[in-house]
Assembly symmetry: D2
Homo-oligomer: 185 residues x 4
């Protein structure tokens, strides 16, 4: 069973991307095989219907869509900009939603970290609401890591073991939900 993991930020040193490893650990411990998108994996053209030709999409978009198709689940580290997900992430979702909607029947989990005190609380709501019409089951639990500037130690490890464990639990539940057959309903 394949899980695609990615962060909604293009920054090389993305702190959100660092969260993925814990969720991935949980997913792998539960039997998932994780495909992690490279840091520039969401560097797609801006969505423009004029770029669609006879049902095909620009090459980078086709590659992104193919990667989703191959996966049964999604681990999404979503930053929060202006009380929502990044335009980068929304743009990638918009491309994936084009016919045929490649998100159909996937299961997803999302979580995130911000420099500020609210830990992407609002971004996670936005992610959930945008994936829902695409027929994605979203794991109820999320993990919010506030104060990102102080949340990681010099080795890039999360300082709070509870947050790390919660991320592992989210990855595990994602895989278990897929194993239960959720994506076939």
């Amino acid at each position: 069973m394949k899980i695609l993991a990615f962060a909604g930020s293009l920054r090389k040193g993305s702190l959100n991307r660092r969260l993925l490893r814990y969720a991935i650990e949980g997913a792998e411990a539960a039997g998932g095989v994780v495909d992690e998108l490279p840091p520039d994996g969401l560097a797609l053209p801006l969505y423009n219907e004029d770029l669609e030709r006879d049902g095909s999409y620009p090459p980078d978009v086709e590659a992104w869509r193919a990667r989703i198709v191959e996966a049964e689940g999604l681990l999404i580290a979503s930053p929060e900009y202006n009380h929502g997900m990044s335009g980068v992430l929304k743009n990638a979702i918009d491309w994936g939603s084009r016919p045929p909607n490649v998100f159909d029947r996937k299961v997803a989990a999302s979580f995130g970290t911000t420099v500020g005190p609210y830990g992407t609380a609002r971004s996670q709501m936005n992610v959930r609401l945008c994936l829902t019409p695409l027929n994605v089951w979203v794991v109820p639990k999320t993990v919010l890591v506030p104060h990102a500037g102080k949340a990681f130690d010099a080795d890039g490890e999360l300082g709070d073991p509870k947050a790390a464990d919660d991320l592992r639990a989210v990855g595990r539940v994602l895989v278990q939900a897929i194993q239960a057959g959720l994506g076939r309903l």
Copy 2:
């Protein structure tokens, strides 16, 4: 497997309550046993922490909470007032969320009808976002029935067979998700 079905309106002739029957048909066809709340089932006191005594709640609230505890799934017909669920429904959710959160690990589906053209699109988002922190899995699919004043025939039946079928499908998926073990994750 027990499913609790209810509408977020106290009006005797609630059009949202009429939607329940189709979702219930789907749930029953998939093997669910449905407990339909009476029309005044959400006529609870307004939430007030001062009414909590040593972890116990007013009798009507205890009865409401017990009914959720007994169920594994929830079918919710949510009207839309002012771009959200009714205060009536939110009040009932607020009581159920008090410790111990009786919604924990339930699976829910929500849908609704409005007199206006948008069919509770925004209310369903509100329901989804409020159930999520209670650790409820919410079925991605919803059914929106706009123009409620013209949507039902003289016998109170939905005129649009597709909407009726979609409601049945939502009830069926709810039961299948519980059968898959979603509520045990």
Copy 3:
């Protein structure tokens, strides 16, 4: 110019109600005359269309609606339950929205405090979205006071002078927006 101030909680010792005083100070300093609702001011019947008789409403509801009619602005201390405003507050908004919508052309500001770390971030979004279709202008700035259990000193005063000042600023901006004529547009 009259401003109606109230909290979305019925609890006698409501911490949200304590926030009102700072916003009221700011509103008064800018020239507003503030009418503060008593603690049980939102103890209305649950909304039920069957209680409407020839365009009139239950006495408590009429009193609530009259108080809004007399005001040009609203100061709302909104707690957060389950990622939304309280059912109590939503119920009061639902009654006020019934024809004629008494919220029409008001200006409002909302803010709040929670025991947890996120300070009603999500509740304020919910308040904003529900007031908007009622044709209410909502002040962009809000104030979130997290960790309510530690935020007030023994005299019930906010320990953080910046939060107190921010609340005063919100009250002042509310009055200035009304003075500018916003409610007549």
Copy 4:
């Protein structure tokens, strides 16, 4: 007084862009001077903090930011993709929010059209919630134009005179709110 008008779509034949003209008429009738962004005006790089150099931004981004700075108000035609605004529009907002936040104290109005029946109801909520933390006042009224495929005649004019008038009213209210001094509060 300058108003910047733009649509959240890059498609040359964007139906949302066609809505702008009506709102612009209303804004102009009230005394506004409207600057309409060219169709590729939001064709910015995807947001990436690594592209920021000593507080300066890529040239296209600087041009976009300068155009907002010059305006006091914003007319936004926002399509709806996946229950939210387009990634294109969110990306442009994300760039504008970078320090110094060029949206500070602007007044905005948003509206939109979709091929489907719900007329961007959910996208407008998303736009409102994302502009709010940027200290933007958002006009409460919006205009939703469903069934975009049938909403325009052969000349590209809106077939529904009420929708056209509502758009004009939104443009007028935007200008009046700025004239009242809202952007100076």
